[in-house]
Amino acid sequence: MTQAPARILPVIDRDSEAFWTWGVDGKLAIHRCADCAYFVHPPVPFCPKCDSRDVMPHAVSGRGRVVTFTVNHKSWVPDLPVPYVLALVAIEEQEDVRIPCNIVDCAPQGVIFDMPVEVVFERVEDVWIPLFRPVHS
């Protein structure tokens, strides 16, 4: 996606900071309960499974699968290159942690349901944006 419009950045707060910044070390951070290992995303310092308050950012594998996706064809703003893929990726560690992302390094027509993917990061200002690309075996 060359010459694309600037990505809109998220407001980062104490809960989301790890998710948006651990990419500096190539790590995808997802909050995990230290007591029962349940992943809590979007991040909240409370485990809804066991009521633990000991929930901290944890580096996951960065691998996952495409749960669903859409190929966008409409150029919503000037100079937006289309088509591009918006997807929800479930992390390998837990099915119900789904991360919105663009699928990169892949033709939009090549994205399929359940496709194995891995994280890559794109830095914009102080944010390391997780993107996913196909896993090449």
């Binding site: 809109i8 407001v11 669903t68 859409t70 966008n72 409409k74 703003v77 918006l86 119900d96 789904r98």
Partner: protein, 394 residues
């Protein structure tokens, strides 16, 4: 089942402003038009209105999504009320109605004016070409998780859910297109509709792809306009000039994760348990329903509701709408009889309530469903939000 408070309420009047792709008057003026028409339709005066509500309340952000809230309308009409409320954190657009039911039950008011105003046609002619992201502004809140990924419009978020539905159900574009074709056919008979020229399935299939599987004709049309309804306490409703349209049952639940990314059931969204709640508050069954005004922000919402209200089995909507005859005005279950938001204009579920009442009161002219329809199911939806109402004319 008299213990449910909605059964002590009824819709007693409806109103709608001009609906257009560019209004000749202000959003507040459109709101006043709709409100006064609804009050008069109920046989009431401004002095009788002792409560009012809207969803999602005033958003002075230039988007046109909700330019008029309670404060502006109260002052315009100089209403004197026992209760009012506007706010977006509710079970979808009908949250304002559900709150009004509670306020009536609490004895705070008797005749509640509920309104919804949109000014998106004008807004989008200026700088507000897309609805979710603002260039140069950091995004907070639930949509921050989508923000960096060129998610400019609700169409993209919803397309994620709809594409999974297509994948699981096997519905074809030819089947999906029946929703848009049916509603345009109905809109041709509705003088207030935006788009009245009939379309064919080929026209649908040739309409531009927005975000797979959504085509242009799957998307509702932004308009300028306002709709209003009056919800009255039942004893008062029975003294007014229109036959009361009883709110027989509502579905207002939140039993899923309230998240646009972590929804428990991505392909059905939040609808199934909302529908289950509604059916749990009435002895009526889906087979009793005469007409349906189902949310159609996108045509797939309507398809989802056909299943989730139980008009057909899970993933059976594709067969239900095949050929379009069952959902036509003369079909087993006429759906979105005024053209819906796709062709009538995006009044965001309040156009649907207006059309429901128009049909149940037998005022729909050339698009009037025959057989004196008495029972209408109506709904809203979008991601984690959903609401449902079953309306019954006495």
């Amino acid at each position: 089942m008299t213990r449910f408070a909605e059964k002590n309420t009824a819709i007693t009047g409806v109103g709608m402003s001009e609906v257009s792709r560019g209004a000749t008057k202000s959003a507040l003026a459109l709101t006043v038009d709709a409100a006064l028409e609804a009050i008069a339709d109920a046989g009431l005066t401004r002095a009788d209105i002792d409560g009012f509500a809207t969803w999602p309340g005033e958003r002075a952000d230039g988007s046109g999504f909700s330019p008029v809230g309670c404060a502006a309308l109260q002052d315009a009409l100089r209403l004197e009320v026992g209760w009012y409320g506007g706010g977006g954190e509710a079970p979808g657009q009908y949250g304002a109605v559900f709150n009004a039911i509670g306020a009536i039950a609490a004895g705070l008011c008797r005749n509640v004016l509920i309104f919804r105003t949109m000014y998106e046609a004008t807004a989008r002619k200026s700088s507000y070409a897309n609805s979710l992201l603002r260039e140069g502004q950091r995004q907070a809140g639930p949509f921050s998780w989508y923000a960096p990924y060129y998610t400019y419009a609700a169409a993209l978020q919803q397309a994620l859910f709809f594409n999974l539905y297509v994948h699981k159900s096997g519905i074809t574009p030819e089947q999906v297109g029946q929703i848009a074709v049916n509603q345009r056919r109905n809109a041709a008979l509705n003088p207030n509709a935006i788009y009245k020229t009939p379309i064919t399935l080929d026209d649908y299939l040739a309409s531009p792809l927005i975000a797979t599987p959504l085509r242009l004709y799957d998307c509702d049309v932004p308009i300028d306009g306002a709709a209003a309804i009056i919800v009255s306490r039942m004893d008062i409703a029975r003294t007014l000039k229109n036959p009361p349209i009883r709110i027989e049952a509502i579905g207002s639940s939140m039993r899923y994760r309230n998240s646009w990314t972590q929804l428990d059931a991505l392909d059905t969204q939040a609808q199934p348990k909302v529908a289950e709640m509604m059916w749990g508050r009435t002895d009526l069954k889906s087979a009793d329903v005469d007409i349906a005004q189902l949310y159609d922000g996108f045509s797939f919402h309507t398809i989802n509701w056909l299943e989730n209200f139980g008009f057909c089995e899970r993933y059976g909507a594709k067969d239900f709408i095949e050929g379009g005859t069952r959902i036509a005005l003369d079909g087993d279950l006429p759906v979105n009889t005024g053209g819906g938001a796709l062709s009538g204009g995006r009044l965001h579920a309040y156009g649907a309530v207006h059309e429901a009442c128009t049909q149940l009161w037998g005022r729909a002219g050339k698009r009037q469903v025959s057989g004196d329809p008495q029972i209408c199911a109506t709904s809203t939806s979008g991601g984690p939000l959903a609401g449902a109402m079953l309306l019954v004319r006495d």
